[in-house]
């Protein structure tokens, strides 16, 4: 799997740029995905989404469905796309260090 070197930290990523393991997540990773996503400034709303995703994942071992993410954060899907241009999966979940879901999805 490819490796990325960002500001002195090394991360192993898959083909879509998701981190190899939830355990290897760090603030450095957040900053790296921020540049990848083209986000200028991380605000409280970004942080709220990331925190919610990580808490849900720790409890359930899976990313929340989009409707749960919307309901818990109070952000409509459109707004989540404004925060994370690649969307809840390829943007927010990636930044939070979650694996991408596979199957009939």
């Amino acid at each position: 799997m490819p490796e990325v070197d960002f500001q002195g930290s090394k991360f192993v990523v898959d083909e879509d740029g998701f981190i190899d393991s939830y355990e290897n997540w760090s603030e450095g990773w957040v900053q790296y995905v921020k540049t990848q996503e083209g986000i200028d400034e991380l605000n409280e709303e970004h942080r709220k989404v990331i925190t919610m995703l990580r808490e849900y994942y720790e409890k359930n071992g899976i990313a929340p469905m989009v409707r749960v993410l919307s309901k818990v954060t109070g952000f409509k899907l459109k707004h989540i796309y404004e925060l994370f241009p690649s969307g809840p999966g390829k943007g927010a979940c990636k930044m939070a260090g979650l694996p991408k879901p596979t199957g009939c999805v």
């Binding site: 799997m1 898959d14 083909e15 879509d16 409890k59 359930n60 071992g61 899976i62 469905m65 989009v66 409707r67 749960v68 309901k71 390829k90 879901p101 596979t102 199957g103 009939c104 999805v105």
Partner: protein, 542 residues
Amino acid sequence: MSDLPKPNEFIDRIDRSIPRTGWMDTPIDIRKGMYCYAANPKSVEYVHLPNAHAWNPVEDDWHLPENWKEIIHEGFKTRLERFRSFKVFMDICVRCGACADKCHFFIGTGDPKNMPVLRAELLRSVYRNDYTTAGKILGKIAGARPLTMDVLKEWWYYFFQCTECRRCSVFCPYGIDTAEITIMGRELLNLLGLNIDWVATPVANCYRTGNHLGIQPHAYRDMLDFFVDDIEEITSVRCEPNYNQKGADILFITPSGDVFADPGTYTCMGYLMLFKFLKEKYGLSITWSTYASEGGNFGFFTSHETMKRLNSKMYAEAKRLGVKWILGGECGHMWRVINQYMDTMNGPADFLEVPVNPITGTRFENAKSTKMVHIMEFTADLIKHGKLDLDISRNDNLKITFHDSCNPARGMGLLDEPRYVIQNVARHFYDMPANTIREQTFCCGSGAGLNAGENMELRLAGGLPRSMAVKHVHDKYDVNTLATICAIDRAALPTLMDYYLPDVRVTGVTELVANALIMPGEGERTTNLRGEPLPGMEEEEE
């Protein structure tokens, strides 16, 4: 999808010219956008499949074991002996070409190796070379060629450009099931650890947690509970499901995509409402299982053994809970596995009863051996006997067409029931042209484990015929809703519609049923399950 051209340009770009070289001499070109990522070795290892290893399709070296040719040769031989159909399909094709232009991938890509006849020849040529006298003596003149690394790569590339939809088989005068050839091709590739990740990881998840997404029991419950709250907001009725309930009448099994991904989640809410209705009105108890929590079976896209292992939980759970029979949700390939394999693979399920709908008395003779009934048959039966209370005006804003999901249509002959249900819960229904529906239905282009993100160009190409058929009824009748009964469809068709027909949305049929269903004790309904105003309620919303 941002790097893809506009639909018209995409269609104009399809190369339909005659290739300059013969197919055996045309080198393999594994192109980005057309293939899925290699299987994560951890997932391959998890289900004890052989030769788990890291590899990359676009690199020269696929890191195969030294004796890979021997492994394939032996594997091929074993399967020719084990599966009579495979041997027959290898021998009898006369290359008439009746199937050639029936494949959605050939129509959408123009690549001759996507003609089902030629896809099969990729395998058949090696069969002739290794196992027939004519091929051994005459070689290329007899259509034979030896197995090389390039041939193997060609197998991999094109057997993962087939959705095993079986439209081509409908037109084969010999009845060759080309899907079975792809199934065998993939099985052989799996002997070398050459699966795709979109299949391998769901398989590992399913083996671990009972479903493709890897949802654990407490999370599964959490998700359904979320829907219960949402339904209460819309209808004022709490539709609490039964979980793992021993002694329930019926066990319900549906794809995990329905509990996780939109718009399948609305179909899932529909199931909850229907079951609550039947419990309140008729005392029917239906239980969900947090163990048999997956209808689909990506093992089917891997190998017979893997399919069998993943399927076994259905009967095992039915036995453990002591239900009478099993009800299956809106899933696609699950129904081919059930109708073609389950009974002999993990059955006979003698401990279950021949399914009878206790509310109507209907005996489902067609499910006599599998003991498993499709929710469309079940719902159609309830409607036919007047057992559902429906206000169909709630679907008046929808102009609906129906996409026959490949496997329920061609794998079990479920053609009329979904249409009957739709036409009894909504007023405006328009079928697509005859050669694109029912047993001739065009695939969504993303089945058999190909609904990943990285192969988007392939998916849009494969979905082109279906999308153009929807466009026909969209332009002619203003169709705005594409109904379907498969979770892969519900995941794949929205992507197709976003690209080709942005004002058409995708829905499961049970979502339509639940919108019309009058729940006992419900409050005034002002929105549909998606929280959008019902027809006539638009103003109150503002």
